[in-house]
Amino acid sequence: QLSGGKSKTLRGRFLHITDIHPDPFYKTGTSVAQMCHRGKPEDKSDRAPRFGTAMNGCDSSMDLMEYTLKWVEDNLRDQIDFVVWTGDNIRHDNDRRNPRTESQIFDLNAQMAQRFEKIFRNPDNIDPRDFDVEVIPSLGNNDVFPHNLFSLGPTLQTRELTNMWSNFVPQEQQRAFARGTSYFVEVIPGKLAVLSIETLYLYKANPLVDTCNSKKEPGYQLLLWLGYVLEELRSRNMKVWLTGHVPPLPKNYDGNCFHKYTLWTNEYRDIIIGGLYGHMNIDHFIPLDAKKSWKAIEKSN
């Protein structure tokens, strides 16, 4: 039973989906060598099929994206409690004849957000925030312009993001979101939260990220926010999943950002259930070692 007389049936399942990379320029029957955008294929193996070919380097056709989401809607929507969606909702910048623009990135991200809303929202309620299945998106490094570069808000990009995700981000967090673009959703109110972390503020390839040492660094400010939020969730005896696009690996995060982040994931092991990330495209797991991170931090002192 939820507040306001509402109720929700839990299934004990949730979906994690990531790196959809839909490409509006993808055209069936064109040449793979031309990023599946144009050209006559040299042979059968060079031809772009309707739903794509594994490993050929093209992005997702719009059909692959549409049929994937339709399959999820038809087969999973009513079997899951929430959706963790870890970003990269736009093609790669791999075609010099069609360079990506900021407005294309915003537009496709907005379309994708609307698509997810339509699938998972309560169709019987005019309240746009009433979801049958909560969706918790996070931002990918391809979802920002220029590539990988993303600063603390408020900026044009964070404002656009705040608008397009306004139905996903809880109202009381929207001001904080406009600055730090991290937030959490109580997928089971008072019990279970999913935290969407702006991993681009820790990401080494983001030219605006240097360390997590200085208070001016976006990563430093993100970790401050994270600490206060985790402490509050602990005080409320809630449990939490950490989610984001770029996974915490030493080569993805700046050195001490990685170690500091690892420490937070471990020192709140009474409430953190695990971490769900995308970006690498490979299905695998990494055990982060807090003992080593403590040593690294102490050594650097």
């Binding site: 839990l10 004990g12 949730f14 979906l15 994690h16 989906i17 990531t18 099929p49 739903f51 070919t53 594994a54 490993m55 050929n56 380097g57 994937t68 990269d88 790669h92 910048d93 809880p170 008072g190 019990k191 279970l192 390839a205 200085s214 208070k215 400010q221 970790l223 401050l224 926010w225 206060y228 602990r234 449990k239 996974p247 690996l249 080569k251 001490n256 994931t265 020192e267 709140y268 092991r269 009474d270 259930i273 695990g274 971490g275 769900l276 990330y277 995308g278 690498m280 495209n281 490979i282 299905d283 695998h284 797991f285 990494i286 055990p287 982060l288 003992k291 040593k295 650097s300 002192n301």
Partner: protein, 282 residues
């Protein structure tokens, strides 16, 4: 730099999970910045094995042999303690598990995952829902002020935490140790919200293309053919052979890491799944 560090520390310096060993991760990542074509991914996953799984296995075995030696020594003194050594019982809570998902983009085959988690007992505990100490709105208003105050404190960009500590200030981006009186959470002991199982779905693009062409040949129009051909299917579940996981606790992942370090057959299967049954090789 890498060569210097190797010389200085030895290839596997004690507890030195040198970040350098994941160089290929960055190379692979850089290579794919401009596109989706997979590059050096086998090298990457082999480095994951070497850097994480092998080292955990080596720690587990040295710990087990220490225990075993100790038990052997004590055997005559106290036979009641002669139980089978538990490898690293009580040692896994230094680890936190990061799961990295396969993607929809056909870098390999398109994929996503459905997680299952324990909700038993939730109904009885729901009655405490309303006992919030503070509304979230108030919390976030206060949070903004707290963070502003933290940031206004004297900026010290030189010498970072060392300088902060010398000056008696605390770096708030480093957490305090978890209080010892707090119990371990759902990642470590079975309880409400503990993940119990996952099902990995994938779309076999070769198979879909074959079925789609066949349907077109059979006279269906494009939409009918697509509807008939396109489907996701279960690639594997976490409790499937050859390395079924009883549950998805941190301990289970650590056990799996140890198995993957030693067993080539399991490792082959693991990498096949890592690349979403696409048959990828460098």
């Amino acid at each position: 730099s890498k060569a210097f560090n190797e010389k200085k520390n030895g290839e596997f310096g004690d507890d030195d999970d040198s970040d350098d060993v994941l160089d290929s991760a960055v190379e692979a990542s850089d290579a794919r910045i401009m596109g989706a074509k997979p590059v050096n991914k086998v090298a990457y996953i082999e480095k994951v094995r070497e850097t994480y799984y092998n080292k955990i296995a080596s720690k587990a075995s040295s710990f087990a042999s220490r225990r075993s030696r100790k038990k052997h020594k004590n055997k005559n003194k106290n036979d009641k303690n002669n139980k089978k050594p538990t490898h690293y019982k009580g040692k896994v809570d230094r680890y936190s598990i990061v799961t990295v998902a396969g993607s929809v983009i056909p870098t390999f085959n398109p994929a996503f995952r459905v997680w299952e988690y324990n909700i038993s007992g939730l109904e009885s505990s729901c009655s405490t829902n309303a006992m919030h100490t503070q509304e979230w709105g108030t919390f976030f208003d206060n949070l903004e002020t707290k963070i502003e105050q933290d940031l206004m404190e004297e900026e010290n960009t030189f010498g970072w935490a060392g300088a902060l500590w010398r000056s008696g200030k605390i770096d708030k981006t480093i957490p305090s140790r978890m209080p010892t009186d707090l119990p371990l959470g759902p990642a470590y002991t079975p309880q409400l919200f503990t993940p119990t199982r996952f099902v990995q779905y994938y779309a076999d693009l070769k198979d879909i293309e074959r079925k789609y062409s066949q349907a077109l040949d059979d006279g269906l129009n494009e939409e009918e053919a697509a509807a008939k051909a396109f489907a996701y299917q279960v690639e594997y579940s976490s409790d499937d052979a050859p390395y079924p996981m009883k549950s998805l606790l941190t301990k289970d992942y650590i056990d799996l890491a140890v198995e993957l370090a030693y067993n080539e057959t399991l490792w082959t299967k693991f990498t096949e799944r890592a690349f979403l049954s696409s048959g990828y090789d460098d």
